[in-house]
Symmetry: C2
Subunit: 190 residues, 2 copies
DNA sequence: ATTATTGCAAATATTTTGCAATAAC
DNA sequence: GTTATTGCAAAATATTTGCAATAAT
C-alpha cells in the first residue's frame, strides 16, 4: 500500500521520487513558428502592483521562489519548484511555496493546470496569445499549441449561450509522435 | 479549520453538506436542437461483455449502483450517487461506489470529469457525438455543447504534430447568462 | 469449493491551516 | 511597534487499499 514511502508530517516532498516528466515543446498555429514567451517584465510589474495594493510584503523567501519560478521551465510542480528553491536555501518550507504560488495565481500572474497526474502545475499567464496543450499519456510530454480559429469558434459558442468566459481549458490527451515510433519499433523487434 | 466537519475514518460522506449543484442543460451545435442522449442499451451490453470477459460478478450492490447511475442525471458525484443508493440500501459502503465507478470507467462505459470543485463527476460515455462543457463558476451549472468544427480543427492540430488523440477536454469556465442577470439586478438594487 | 466482492477502518497523498516565532514595514 | 510571513506539524479531504467476512460462480 505504498507507491512512495512517506510518513505523515515527517519528511514530505521527497521531490523526484515519482516519475515527474516535464518536457516542453512550443509550436505555434498553422505556421509552425514558435509561440511567443510571455512578457515577464509586465508580469513582474503586475505582481508588484498587486502586492503593493494590499500591503503584502516582499520577503527573502518570496523573492527566491518567484525568481526561481520565473527562471524555471513551464508546467513546473510544487515539488520541482521546492527542490530548486531548496538548492539555494534549504530551510524554505513547502507551505511557503504553496502560499506563494497561490498568491501568484490570485494576482493573475500565473495559471494553475491540473493535467491529471495528481500534481498541480504552474505556468506564467499570457493574456495576449492563449495556448492550449497536448499531453502525452506515455511519456508525459506537454506540447503547447495555438489555434486562433478554435478560440474564435469557442467565443461564438459562449456567445450563443450568453456565457461570459473567464478562462478555459482545452487539452488533448493521447500518444505523441515519439512514443508512437517507440511503440511500433518495439512491436517489430518482438 | 473546517469547511465541513468530518472525522477521519468515521462518518465520511455526509452527502449534501457542501453546495454541490448539479444543474444540467444540453444544447446542440449551431442549430440549437438538443444533444442526443447516449445509447444506454448499447452501453449496458458493452459493460456486460466487459465483465463477462474477465469473470467479474454481478452483485446486488453493483446492480443497484449501476441502475441508480443510469437513471440519475449526468455529472453526478460519488456523494450524490451514494446518497441515492443508500436511500434504497443503507448498508452500501462508499468504497463499493468508488470501485464500481472505477469499473465503469475502465470498461469505457462512463467518463470521469474533474471540473475543479474537488469532486469527480461521472457521465455516460457517448462515442458517436462528443460534447464539451460550459461551467458556471457562480452557480455550478454545467451546460453541454457540441461544435463539430472545433472537433475538426482539433483533429487537424493533432495531425500537425503526429499526435494520436485518445481523449480530450474542452471546458469553458465563466458566468452563465442567469448569473449575469442576477448580478446586474443585484447591482441595481443597491 | 473457489475466488470475486463487500464494508470497514486505516492508509495515501496533495493541499491547507493554526500557531508561535520571526521579519518586513 | 504592528502586522504580515514563515516553518512546522497537524488537519483536511477525496480516493485507495489491506483484510476478514460474505456471496457469486
Amino acid at each position: 500500500m505504498s507507491k512512495r514511502g512517506r510518513a505523515r508530517g515527517k519528511v514530505r516532498l521527497d521531490a523526484g521520487s515519482r516519475s515527474e516528466n516535464n518536457y516542453l515543446v512550443k509550436i505555434g498555429a498553422s505556421t509552425g513558428r514558435g509561440i511567443r514567451s510571455p512578457d515577464t517584465e509586465r508580469l513582474r510589474r503586475d505582481l508588484h502592483t498587486y502586492m503593493a495594493k494590499r500591503g503584502l510584503r516582499s520577503t527573502e523567501q518570496r523573492r527566491l521562489i518567484i525568481d526561481t519560478f520565473f527562471d524555471a521551465g513551464e508546467h513546473i510542480t510544487i515539488e520541482g519548484l521546492l527542490k530548486q528553491v531548496r538548492a539555494v536555501d534549504s530551510r524554505v518550507g513547502y507551505a511557503t511555496v504553496y502560499r506563494t504560488m497561490k498568491l501568484l495565481t490570485e494576482s493573475g500572474v500565473v495559471q494553475e493546470h491540473k493535467f491529471g497526474d495528481g500534481f498541480t502545475r504552474y505556468e506564467l499567464a499570457d493574456d495576449e496569445s492563449h495556448h492550449d496543450h497536448l499531453i502525452c499519456l506515455e511519456c508525459g510530454k506537454i506540447t503547447e499549441f495555438e489555434e486562433p480559429l478554435i478560440e474564435e469558434l469557442q467565443d461564438r459558442v459562449a456567445n450563443r449561450y450568453g456565457f461570459q468566459v473567464k478562462q478555459h481549458k482545452h487539452e488533448l490527451y493521447g500518444v505523441c509522435a515519439d512514443c508512437q515510433k517507440r511503440q511500433s519499433s518495439k512491436r517489430k523487434s518482438r
